[in-house]
């Protein structure tokens, strides 16, 4: 921690340039230089054409020449001052230049005012979507102004003071300011993120002015180098240049995303010998996208000099194996290709899906590593192998000889932080193209949404897509400003998942969710409340975004409403009973169950990423599948057999099980306090090895469904008759729901084993049977009612006058 005075002392090194900034700021210098260039052009043209076109006198020409030289010398002077400024700006000092500027130019009586009125402060707030007017009002109304004596800079005395450090200290010191930001839904992270973005952009603009730096010069393409490299017709036959690959053609702007990784590859490839890269990526496509990005940078002359004449070829290993009949032919043709490529001297050979190539070659008894060995140590050729993570662990990593010649570069899915960096770079291009302005919050939301709603190989595409689409949409609606809400709306349209502020209709539904669910679910208050709470938490955005929306295990006997509750949830909250992916887990009990279920699950979730995911009879699945769900419940994602990440974070996962139903039944029958038996039911299940304790604990809630009592069955009967009535309405027929009928259904349908399903069966076997017979025989016609009576334990139909018609 250091004081303001100490910081001021520390930042004195760059004082000369700050003094220049005070009198002639950077932006004004640029404006003056531009203006002077126009003057110079004007004077020059007048000097040339003046004597002929305007009959200028000698004296006028002399004055014009003087004006030209005066402007020119002023122009040179300002350019010199600019160089003076840049020299200090890029000087490595203990205090960031912008911080030094703020400190040195501050009057020390109102540090926040100084910050908000600086160029960087104004831009930062503009990117946060807060207008100058609002800031002025806030500054006027403040009760307290932070002076130099009231702030401590929260850094180690020996460390460099960055702009982030200063902003953080100011944020902490000025409570009114942090409150003001809070009122505008701006967290400290957003504030500092926006500031860093503006600062980095300034740095990039100034860096671009230094075209004479070795970094800039090294990326200009040189001449004559390719004369020294040879032809590679064998490789052209058994492979293709990266530029002709469809992945390269569809790369678009995406190469920017991989710039860091490409630079990492560059560093390996410029090594003298054995410069080979093993790209371990989530999918083969990602690996080839990164290599395509390298190809794009070579083509644009944006790589290091050592690599600028390289040609990238993708080997078609499968083709060589297919056309070679045996081991000898394959070894010879593969070697010839490698020799020619090696002799050419400038080939980067890509071996896509090396694991598959190794396997296929192994099938004809060829050890790829042996054939490659002499080329892996050559300085004339470089190899880049791509392999997905699974293939790497299964096939490649175990081959230590092969691995010793490769440098492994691990490609993970782009995380939120890198997404923001990529977005920030691309934003300026999109803004200039569409004449729009993105707030920092909108970019933050794009990266968050991309992380939440898109995964796998789609992820990086989606960030740029969202940016582009948001710009196009705003342009079409003739708006310039793109805010967080615009992004939420766009994501909502694209995914069908409600975003942003809760609408009135949605609010009513959420508040009343228990009652809505109870229209279909009788009893089971605990389950209904748990689900409703979970939905409200999720929609309020306070759940962990890296886990499913909610996850429950429903325990209880058959026919007590477990599946019905799930359906009711899908219907009431997601708008449709079909918004449910249902798995009968007893089908996944075999030895290959994980492979079987992960493929089907991946396909289904890709089609419908928002809704209820129901795992019926969860106890019947294999231990391996249960272990897979350990991961899914924890991380909200899993990797399918192709190595792609599947997003399960927008689903409510509900597992149902009959395990422990005996205990539940007994407890309900004996009228025990229901909440008290949960622990013993769960303990019993764990003891019987049905579920591991860690699996049960991963669920957000273990919900016990009680057995149905006669009063519940009566309500259920009512509901079922109502459903039947709804079906009969189409035929113009209705049933009179009498107490006698309901009593009959409850009496006959009271089955401990099957719960409400037994009622359903009684209705089918008795009520529906009688109605069907009557319709077919023509006795029951449109416009008629049908009533039932119980006589000596049998259900009989009675006519409208009260007479018994049928038995």
């Amino acid at each position: 921690m250091i004081t303001f005075a100490e910081l001021k002392n520390k930042s004195s090194e760059t004082y000369p340039a700050i003094l220049l900034e005070h009198f002639l700021p950077y932006r004004n210098r640029k404006k003056v230089l531009k203006m002077l260039l126009w003057f110079l052009l004007l004077f020059f043209v007048l000097i040339i054409i003046g004597p002929i076109s305007f009959n200028f006198t000698e004296e006028t020409i002399f004055r014009l020449r003087s004006a030209f030289f005066l402007s020119f010398s002023v122009w040179i002077c300002i350019q010199l001052f600019d160089s003076f400024y840049l020299s200090y700006y890029f000087k490595s000092t203990k205090v960031n230049f912008e911080v030094a500027k703020l400190i040195q130019l501050s009057n020390r009586q109102d540090l926040l005012f100084d910050f908000l009125n600086s160029v960087i402060g104004k831009y930062t707030m503009m990117r946060l979507g807060i207008s100058e007017e609002i800031i002025s009002k806030f500054l006027e109304k403040r009760e307290h102004k932070i002076t130099d004596l009231e702030i401590d800079i929260l850094v180690n005395p020996d460390d460099e003071v960055t702009l982030k450090d200063y902003a953080h200290s100011l944020y902490k010191a000025d409570k009114e300011f942090s409150h003001f930001l809070d009122m505008h839904s701006i967290s400290e992270n957003l504030f500092i993120g926006s500031l860093s973005w503006v600062n980095q952009n300034q740095f990039k603009i100034r860096s671009a002015e230094r075209w004479w730096s070795r970094e800039s010069l090294s990326r200009i393409q040189s001449i004559g180098r390719n004369w020294s490299f040879g032809k590679i017709y064998l490789l052209e036959k058994n492979g293709h240049q990266i530029m002709s690959d469809s992945i390269y053609k569809n790369l678009g702007d995406k190469w920017r995303i991989y710039k860091d990784k490409v630079e990492q590859i560059e560093q390996v490839l410029i090594k003298q010998k054995g410069a080979n890269v093993m790209l371990v990526s989530p999918s083969n496509e990602t690996g080839l996208e990164i290599i395509s990005s390298l190809g794009k940078m070579i083509l644009n002359g944006k790589v290091l000099t050592e690599l600028e004449d390289r040609r990238i070829f993708v080997l078609d290993g499968g083709n060589i194996i297919d056309t070679s009949k045996d081991k000898i032919t394959f070894e010879n043709s593969f070697k010839e290709i490698l020799i020619q490529a090696n002799n050419a001297g400038n080939v980067i050979l890509v071996l896509p899906q090396l694991n598959n190539f190794i396997q296929s070659a192994h099938n004809i008894s060829v050890d790829v590593a042996t054939v490659l060995s002499e080329f892996l140590i050559s300085s004339n050729i470089q190899l880049i192998a791509t392999v997905n993570k699974k293939g790497f662990h299964d096939t490649v990593e175990t081959n230590s000889d092969l691995m010793s010649h490769f440098e492994k570069i691990l490609i993970n899915e782009i995380d939120k932080n890198s997404a923001v960096t990529v977005l920030q770079d691309s934003t300026y291009i999109i803004e200039a193209k569409y004449n729009v302005f993105f707030t920092y919050q909108s970019l933050d939301e794009i990266s968050k949404s991309a992380e939440q709603y898109y995964m796998g190989s789609n992820y990086s595409d989606k960030i740029l897509d969202l940016l582009q689409e948001a710009a196009t949409k705003a342009k079409a609606e003739k708006r310039q400003l793109i805010t967080r809400e615009d992004i939420l709306e766009l994501v909502s349209i694209k995914t069908g998942i409600p975003q942003g502020n809760v609408t009135e209709e949605e609010k009513d539904k959420l508040v009343d969710l228990e009652n809505i669910l109870h229209k279909r679910v009788i009893g089971q208050n605990e389950a209904v409340t748990a689900i409703a709470d979970s939905m409200r938490r999720s929609r309020a955005g306070i759940t962990n975004p890296k886990r499913p929306i909610g996850s429950f295990i429903f325990l209880g006997p058959t026919g007590v409403g477990k599946t019905e509750t799930t359906k009711a949830l899908a219907e009431s909250f997601f708008g449709d009973e079909k918004k449910m992916i249902r798995f009968d887990m007893s089908e996944y009990a075999g030895f290959d169950s994980v492979n079987k279920i992960s493929g089907i699950m991946a396909d289904k979730v890709r089609d419908q990423q928002y809704g209820v995911f129901l795992l019926d009879e969860f106890e019947k699945t294999s231990t391996e599948v249960k272990d897979l769900f350990l991961q899914i419940l924890d991380e909200g994602q899993f990797t399918d057999e192709r190595g792609e990440l599947i997003n399960m974070r927008n689903l409510i996962i509900i597992a149902t099980s009959n395990a422990g139903s005996e205990m539940i039944y007994e407890a309900t029958s004996n009228g025990k306090e229901f909440s008290g038996i949960k622990t013993s039911v769960v303990d019993g299940i764990i003891k019987q090895n049905i579920f591991k304790p860690e699996l049960i604990n991963r669920f957000d809630g273990t919900i016990l469904f009680h057995s149905l009592m006669p009063n519940h069955l009566r309500e259920i009967s009512k509901l079922m008759i109502k459903k039947l009535n709804n079906r009969l309405v189409q035929k113009g027929i209705s049933i009179n729901t009498s107490d006698q009928l309901l009593d009959y259904l409850v009496k006959i349908g009271n089955d401990r084993k099957f719960g409400a399903r037994a009622i359903n069966r009684v209705i089918q076997d008795n009520v529906e049977k009688i109605i069907a017979n009557e319709i077919i025989s023509g006795n029951l016609k449109s416009g008629q009612n049908i009533s039932f009576k119980v006589v000596e334990g049998d259900l009989l139909e009675i006519s409208e006058s009260g007479n018994i018609i049928n038995s």
Partner: protein
């Protein structure tokens, strides 16, 4: 550096900028200039691929060459020899010409560097002089 503490104490003055500027112009700027000058020489040397072209000066252009005849065939051998010789000659002349232009450019860059250095040293005086003359000429 000795002057900085005083500057912090006294208020900012526009005229203070000039001593700062001149002190930079004749110290740190010269150091920067030498660095930039080296960057240019290095760039020109690489731009004309002088090193790699010199290393492969006598190689055939684009590594084109005819393979050795499998059996002893004097006609084939002669033909190969002629083709390979022509390729090497073509390679030599094209490379040599680029190397020549490259070296000339390096030399010019070095020379321009010296000139730029001399111009830099006299620039403040020259600018004041030009400004005065043109100002007088204007009015």
């Amino acid at each position: 550096m000795f002057i900085y503490p005083f500057v912090i104490i006294i208020s900012m003055n526009f005229f203070l900028l000039f001593p700062y500027y001149f002190s930079w112009h004749y110290t740190r700027a010269i150091k920067d200039m030498v660095g930039i000058w080296f960057n240019f020489v290095w760039f020109i040397y690489n731009f004309f691929s002088i090193k790699i072209l010199a290393q492969t000066l006598f190689s055939p252009i684009k590594r084109l060459k005819e393979g050795n005849a499998r059996s002893f065939d004097i006609e084939k051998l002669l033909e190969n020899f002629v083709v390979n010789f022509v390729m090497r000659v073509v390679g030599f002349f094209s490379r040599a010409s680029v190397i020549f232009v490259g070296l000339l450019s390096v030399f010019l860059t070095l020379l321009l560097g010296v000139i730029a250095f001399l111009v830099w040293l006299s620039l403040p005086i020259a600018l004041v002089f030009v400004m005065l003359i043109s100002f007088v000429g204007l009015f």
